[in-house]
Symmetry: C2
Subunit: 251 residues, 2 copies
DNA sequence: TTCATGATTTGACCTCGATCAAGGTCGGAG
DNA sequence: CTCCGACCTTGATCGAGGTCAAATCATGAA
């Protein structure tokens, strides 16, 4: 979708700028050493929009970090019902140290670049470098909070509230990624198809479409084309989510 | 509930047997030192069934581990809709290092004993003792997997599948706590009210009641009283969950 | 340009689970 | 023992969202 923005935003650090392990301050010397070790075990991969990165159950001999683009984690039942269980934006982590098989399908929903680390070396690096584990723990706890917020959405919200919540989540993350001013009217592209939104929200794509139309007719959002959204009044949108005011979505 | 098994399993360490930090092999000397440090910052608390341990938003100056009984994490919307987001059995961890306010309501659904650690000392102990963080990472990753399985349930399963899944989860956890033989007919008490099950599953208590009745009439489960369940054929029950055969529930 | 393909919208209809409303069961207090 | 309140079951009805079907819109290949 709009990876151009991200690239220009970060282009002073061409390599591996989004590795989770880089997010904690360490002394310059340690940092240099650490980066050097990481250099040895890392490589990049790219996927076009729509391509599957790994299938659930496949052996996965790497962990990775999203550099640009968007990926999803999802589960599918035997009869084809599928539920998205993770939405991965730049800097998010893919994979689980200590497990060799992928638990979920990982799919690129936009063109995607990820930075991979071979798993065994990464694991031994984790043992030698406690703060990597600490950072990973923080990220995992954040993901767990996001998953629990998501559970409330899936279990108890109406279709309209679900759509409003998803748009608010995307708007917020987009805003934070692009470092825009806070309360300006927000403008962005939906990075997901109606079907992907349905899989996120536990709805059908028809219901998603209808509710988006309803929000548009009610003036909560504006649409140009199918994907380009303007939010004239973010507070108004939040009022549609069912959440108490400032709620801390972390997805 | 039934901590007896765990006791005998670890009975050379009479205190604090369920601390998450005890689950990784360390040398005897380190273990002794570590236990000593833990002793200094730990204390026990008990709650009767139904009592709230902490409210979402309250300051929480401890982390804890469930010793016996069952606790739940749940979120409530302004209008009263509530969704359970965590089910904590013995040895599960409560609280989040690095955060001072509780994110969810924590409630004892049975009589409950927890082992608490004052938060600041625990956090500094974590820094000195990497394997505590490692263990916590593992546990958090397991919880995240469980949350994602739960999301599939909430988003895509029918009421009957939800009930069957919950009963299977409880049966499996109960069996593993009691170290029973695998394919014996399973017998246990439901540790949750119909309302708590509804909050777990994103249903109303009436629907829970109706579906339990239906499963009973179809011979998938047997009921004595309201809570005492016998599962004559576990495979049959699994067939009702919608999951592909051996699925790895971790809740 | 035209065609094909995939994404989206819209309509008609129906079903599953929510809602509202009684009753039933059981254990503990008096 | 009886009464009370918490918990559970069952029935009747309704509506949000699912299902099926068809039309519309884009976009890129030929």
């Amino acid at each position: 979708m709009n990876t151009a923005v991200k690239l220009s935003h970060n282009d002073h650090v061409p390599d591996c700028r989004d590795c989770p392990i880089r997010h904690r301050a360490v002394c310059a010397r340690c940092e240099a050493e650490e980066l050097e070790r990481l250099e040895e075990i890392k490589y990049y991969r790219t996927y076009p929009a729509g391509q599957t990165v790994v299938w659930a159950g496949d052996r996965m001999d790497f962990v990775a970090s999203v550099v640009s683009g968007i990926a999803t984690l999802s589960q599918t039942m035997e009869d084809g019902r599928t539920q998205m269980v993770g939405l991965l934006l730049p800097s998010d982590f893919i994979g689980r140290p200590g497990r060799d098989d992928a638990a979920y399908d990982v799919t690129a929903t936009t063109d995607l670049i990820i930075c991979c680390f071979r798993k065994r070396p990464f694991e031994s690096l984790m043992e030698k470098t406690p703060h990597i584990g600490q950072r990973l723990l923080e990220m995992t706890l954040d993901e767990l909070d996001a998953a629990r917020e998501w559970m409330l959405l899936l279990g108890r919200k109406t279709a309209r509230e679900k759509i409003a919540s998803l748009i608010a989540i995307i708007a917020r993350r987009d805003a934070s990624l692009n470092l825009k001013g806070k309360d300006k009217s927000m403008v962005f592209d939906l990075p997901l198809t109606r079907e992907a939104m349905a899989d996120y929200l536990g709805l059908t794509l028809e219901t998603v479409s209808r509710q988006i139309t309803a929000l548009r007719k009610d003036g909560v959002i504006q649409l140009e084309g199918k994907r380009h959204v303007t939010i004239p009044d973010f507070e108004r949108l939040l009022g549609e989510t069912g959440d108490d005011s400032d709620g801390g979505y972390l997805v």
